[in-house]
């Protein structure tokens, strides 16, 4: 125990390591805020940059960037409706309306505090239960990933803003976009029309930047004469009462975040969307409607995506299996620094585990400090005259789309989807389900086929195993309950008792 504490505090007692963590967190917040500049890319550039450094210094900087970056994605989501990363999509849904009501400062303040709470939940689970969680995560079969994807698809209901038919259309359209490219299982071309640039598919981040950033900028052109809302900057740090009020929701969302984050191959983006959905279902009487600036809609995804950071570290530190793209790069970094990331790491180098836990804790504290300073300045961005703001959004979107893969094709996709999104919006088709479909398409497609291949094409076996496995049965039950709860009969039977 004493040794663990000693390792935990390595980065706390060294001024150099503390400074590097702070620097990393600061950089991460800004890298994360710029759409297209991903944390994954930033961390892998840092591998080369810190090559000759001591391993602890290198890790401090990279952990800071990771923690700060996941949080930073919410900044542009709230201020400009451009999520800095897919994990901040759900944040934009209610964060941007809040900013439009002059509450940008309050929204950033609240999202900061909730991110930090989520971050701590993730770290605590990592420190206390890592081996158990990772063993559980490994038991997920292709069939369970399929059910998880289907659970995600139910989110269309939450994102379609009242018009289910249009929402379903948008979701299906998103899934179609997600299937473009070489079939990941057989390498056959799908919807590529012989164009090599389409082999790797349409980048979901390009779609996201277009549908959110450009669509919003184009719609703003209709309101050029409207004066920007004056931002209220008197209350930036959320009231204690507010924090207390949202704490149960934040903890529930964080639990979703850690759980989904610890699954190999599923990350903070899906965690945040599922947490948003959960918040919408469980909040009985929100002060403001979801999608129009409900604070619950900000609390849930922001807690979940930062909790997913701790979650992603769980399989990585215990088994050498990455929980998401960023931890995959971390594995590479450990390897380059002469460590052997794998299941033996915990046994042979226990100090690495506690050092990382301590370091994440430190980075999370820096998120709180850097997150709550400078809000005043940021909320002024929304007050900018439209003539300046709209070109800036365009520029940011183009730079962002280009930097995903240094490819001009992504810029065209981004602009194309931006225009498409504009027309969709004019005709009342919600854009949220499109990006949901793009994100979930691969998860559902791959795992449905893997699951049915494992049963050698036998559908009856497929369903028998689904019911006989406790995990699959639970997921299936969750899907059925959510579907049933939306039917009129259910509402008639259960609703009156609640009120």
């Amino acid at each position: 125990m004493f040794e663990a504490l000693q390792y935990f505090s390595i980065s706390w007692v060294s001024p150099e390591l503390m400074f590097l963590t702070a620097l990393g967190t600061f950089l991460g917040i800004y890298v994360g805020a710029i759409p297209g500049l991903s944390v994954t890319m930033a961390v892998s550039i840092l591998i080369s940059f810190t090559f000759s450094w001591d391993v602890n210094s290198a890790l401090c900087l990279m952990v800071g960037v990771y923690m700060g970056g996941v949080y930073g994605g919410s900044r542009t989501a709230i201020l400009l409706n451009i999520p800095g990363a897919p994990s901040a999509i759900a944040t934009a849904l209610d964060g941007y309306p809040l900013a439009q009501q002059g509450k940008a400062g309050e929204a950033i303040g609240l999202s900061t505090v909730m991110s930090v709470i989520g971050g701590f939940v993730g770290i605590i689970v990592l420190a206390v239960a890592a081996p158990h969680v990772s063993d559980f995560a490994l038991t997920f079969q292709p069939r369970d990933y399929l059910l998880l994807g289907l659970l995600g698809i139910l989110l269309v209901g939450s994102l379609s803003g009242g018009n289910m038919a249009k929402g379903l259309f948008a979701g299906a359209f998103g899934i179609l976009i997600g299937t473009v490219g070489l079939d990941p299982l057989t390498a056959e071309e799908r919807f590529t029309y012989g164009v090599v640039e389409l082999w790797s598919g349409i980048n979901p981040i390009a779609v996201m930047i277009g549908l959110f950033g450009i669509t919003e900028a184009l719609s703003q052109l209709h309101h050029m004469d409207k004066v920007a809302v004056k931002q209220r900057i008197d209350r930036l740090i959320p009231k204690w009462g507010d924090v207390k009020k949202y704490l149960p929701l934040s903890l529930r969302s964080s639990a979703i975040g850690v759980g989904v984050g610890s699954l190999p191959g599923v990350g903070g983006d899906i965690a945040a969307l599922m947490a948003y959905d959960q918040a919408k279902r469980s909040t009985k009487n929100p002060e403001v409607e979801f999608g129009k600036g409900a604070k619950e809609g900000l609390v849930a995804p922001e807690s979940a995506n930062n909790a997913a950071v701790g979650g992603a570290y769980i399989p990585m530190l215990t088994l050498g299996i990455p929980g998401d793209a960023v931890t995959a790069v971390f594995i590479g970094a450990l390897f380059i620094h002469g460590l052997n990331p794998g299941p033996m790491l915990m046994i042979e180098r226990p100090e690495m585990f506690w050092f990382t836990v301590g370091n994440l804790t430190l980075a999370n504290i820096f998120v709180l400090i850097f997150g709550l300073t400078g809000i005043r300045l940021f909320s002024k961005i929304v007050e900018c005259p439209k003539g300046i703001l709209i070109p800036v959004i365009f520029l940011l979107s183009i730079v962002g789309a280009y930097s995903i893969n240094n490819s001009i094709a992504d810029v065209w996709w981004m602009l194309g989807f931006g225009m498409l999104g504009y027309f969709f919006k004019m005709y009342g088709v919600p854009v949220g389900p499109i990006i949901l479909g793009v994100i979930l398409s691969r998860l559902i497609d791959d795992n449905w086929r893997r699951a049915i291949m494992s049963e050698r094409g036998d559908l009856s076996n497929f369903f028998i195993n689904m019911i006989s496995s406790p995990l699959s049965a639970t997921l299936l039950l969750a899907i059925i309950l959510i579907l049933l709860s939306q039917t009129p009969i259910w509402k008639k039977v259960f609703k009156p008792k609640n009120t």
Partner: protein, 329 residues
């Protein structure tokens, strides 16, 4: 006429002197695969040593997608001046027979083949077999019940499986994954039973006792796996294909001036000998090659012949190797 000769001489002299101090600016390194993958890790760990030799930076970027075709096309679209390097793995050698592209590494200039890996068969700990022959017996008794993880057509797993199927006739159920990382994870969770994987990717899991090795696809046993016999002991027919394994290499476009190629070859040769890099690769179970010139070209041709024909005879090629003049091994 005289004038043209004069100008061409001057141009030649100028260009010769220009290439003598190659590189005069930063070099771009295009990594075929994503951040955090094995190609990415290998390239990022050798590059700093090479930069020291060159005296200029190598700016690395990942251009992923299309089984590596996109990165290759990009490098081919740049000028042949040695300032754009392709850093990739073995996949392009299968492009032609799989109908993915009309170019492969034989149409480029190899700067350095850094290292190669050894494939092996790993199995879930609960599997009722411990060697390849036992697995084959089991699969014959229970057709289709052994689930094998694969990483897509033309990947290491498909070629090793094709080699196996050329020796024995068994029915396995193939479950494709995005890469060996996700597949090895699925193996530990029991979603698949066996999987051919490169030694380096699975060794840490084996050491921790989370999966077992049932066959080493090489002609000799390996120091990190004492007691595991090479597959040729059980299936001598494998000798025709081995040694075979995935590799990592650095390439430039054909037509790059010799002076630039020489400088790069020297720099990479020295960089790849750096003790830190050697130790790193050996820890991961890779065999250092550090090959260039004729040696590299021979290895590339042999790899292409073996893999193309194995895949063609297994029946999943789009074009016959003969169409491209790829000789039978």
């Amino acid at each position: 006429m005289k004038k043209t000769i004069m100008t061409s001489f001057v141009a030649l002299a100028l260009s010769a002197s220009a290439w003598a101090d190659f590189p005069t600016k930063d070099i771009q390194g295009i990594i075929q695969w994503g951040a955090g993958g094995s190609t990415d890790t290998v390239m990022r760990s050798v590059t700093p040593h090479v930069e020291k030799e060159l005296g200029k930076s190598i700016v690395l970027s990942n251009r992923t997608g299309g089984v590596g075709v996109i990165a290759m096309r990009y490098v081919e679209s740049r000028r042949a001046d040695g300032y754009t390097l392709l850093m990739g793995a073995e996949n392009p050698q299968m492009y032609k027979v799989l109908g993915l592209a009309d170019v492969d590494y034989n149409d480029m200039v190899p700067i350095n083949l850094l290292a190669r890996g050894i494939p092996m068969f790993v199995a879930n700990n609960d599997a009722p077999y411990n060697t390849m022959s036992e697995m084959v017996e089991y699969a014959k008794a229970n057709p289709g019940s052994v689930k094998v993880g694969s990483t897509g057509t033309g990947g290491l797993t498909s070629i090793v499986l094709a080699m196996l199927e050329s020796q024995v006739s068994i029915e396995l159920t193939n479950i494709p994954y995005d890469g060996d990382g996700p597949a090895l994870t699925a193996l530990q969770g029991g979603a698949i039973d066996i999987m051919p994987a490169v030694l380096g990717a699975a060794i840490e899991h084996v050491r921790a006792g989370r999966m077992k090795v049932i066959g080493l696809v090489d002609t000799a046993s390996h120091p990190v796996l004492p007691g595991v016999a090479p597959i040729t002991d059980e299936f001598p027919g494998f000798k025709d294909y081995l040694p075979w394994g995935p590799f990592f290499g650095v390439f430039v476009k054909k037509g790059t001036p010799d002076a630039a190629v020489d400088t790069l070859v020297n720099a990479f040769n020295k960089g790849a000998q750096h003790p830190e890099f050697v130790e790193l690769m050996e820890n991961r179970g890779f065999i250092i090659m550090n090959a260039s010139g004729k040696e590299a070209e021979d290895f590339l041709s042999s790899y292409r012949s073996v893999s193309s024909w194995v895949v063609h005879e297994a029946g999943f090629s789009k074009h016959s190797p003969e169409e491209y003049g790829i000789p039978k091994p």
